[in-house]
């Protein structure tokens, strides 16, 4: 990933800036073995919406996009005021308790750092969700699907992929 790619991703992510996380989904995988039960998280989804003003038809909230973070390919850490709150390698019970902080929070902006594609999602209340991709060739680290049909991916590996929903 080049500096230009990172700037392009930042621009293409703008539709979700200023929108609100209305729903957080977390996949917890339970693995049953003869020695006991293991558990781990393999995916985190943030669903964004925006408020539609009264003058528009259908006053209320409108779904904008959904961001999927592939926790098998990248690590995630939630920080507040620069202090780690919870990380994707923590026990799932702890993560389940802490990620709820994101519900109802407004996304301020998105930053992507080349060449590896570290991604920072900055929210109100000084909350930052950091994603650290740890793959070089295959697999997606995160996928942003907008309700207009646009698909923006960090992947495969550190490369960016964009598919426009406009035909």
């Amino acid at each position: 990933m080049t500096t230009g790619d990172a700037a392009t991703i930042r621009d293409l992510s703008r539709p979700i800036w200023g929108t609100q996380v209305w729903q957080v989904r977390l996949n917890v995988q339970h693995i049953f073995q003869d020695r006991g039960v293991l558990e781990g998280m393999d995916g985190l989804w943030l669903d964004f919406r925006e408020f539609r003003p009264k003058r528009e038809l259908g006053e209320g909230h409108r779904s904008v996009a959904s961001l999927y973070i592939n926790l098998r390919n990248c690590g995630a850490r939630l920080e507040q005021h620069g202090v780690p709150v919870v990380m994707s390698g923590d026990p799932s019970a702890r993560v389940l308790g802490e990620v709820q902080r994101l519900v109802g929070i407004r996304l301020v902006d998105v930053e992507v750092k080349p060449p590896g594609g570290e991604t920072l999602l900055r929210f109100d209340s000084a909350l930052v969700l950091s994603c650290f991709p740890a793959v070089s060739r295959e697999g997606d680290s995160w996928v942003l699907n907008t309700d207009l049909g646009d698909v923006l991916k960090l992947g495969p590996g550190p490369r960016m992929t964009y598919i426009s929903g406009r035909r």
């Binding site: 990248c74 990380m87 390698g89 740890a134 793959v135 060739r137 550190p158």
Partner: protein
């Protein structure tokens, strides 16, 4: 920033290897064979458990801890033979950036609040130092 890597800055990395899973072992200085050990130990040895890592060179990502094993091992080979030019440990998170000659950069990401989710430095006399985070400071010598 902590100057946690001061002991190994300026040292040449050689014999670096991949342990179980994605555990990284960085060996610095002269290598010494160890009895009952497959890999010789450097005068200084940095190892990591439960942290994610990625090795970069210029605009390229050479490999990361979630790649397949051959890709990880090939990426580690880029570190071998190069000198550690600078090392930074971010105090709040425990993340680190190790810059080697040859424009090779190793970046790490702490994945867990567990105490073993950080670097461990083994010194020439066999003692260990945990390169800590804000959770536990600079660690203790054992």
């Amino acid at each position: 920033m902590l100057n946690a890597f001061a002991a190994v800055v300026g040292q040449k990395a050689q014999g670096c290897w991949l342990g179980y899973g994605s555990v990284l072992f960085l060996e610095f200085g002269e290598l010494h064979p160890l009895e009952h050990q497959t890999h010789p130990r450097g005068e200084w040895s940095l190892s990591s458990a439960r942290i994610l890592w990625r090795i970069e060179q210029d605009d390229s990502v050479l490999g990361g801890s979630e790649d397949d094993r051959p890709t990880m091992e090939a990426a580690i080979e880029y570190i071998n033979g190069n000198t550690l030019v600078a090392g930074e440990l971010l105090e709040a998170s425990g993340d680190s950036v190790l810059t080697f000659s040859g424009r090779v950069v190793l970046k790490t990401f702490v994945l867990s609040s567990a105490e073993d989710s950080r670097w461990h430095l083994t010194l020439a006399d066999g003692s260990h130092v945990s390169l800590g985070t804000a959770r536990s400071g600079m660690g203790t010598v054992s």
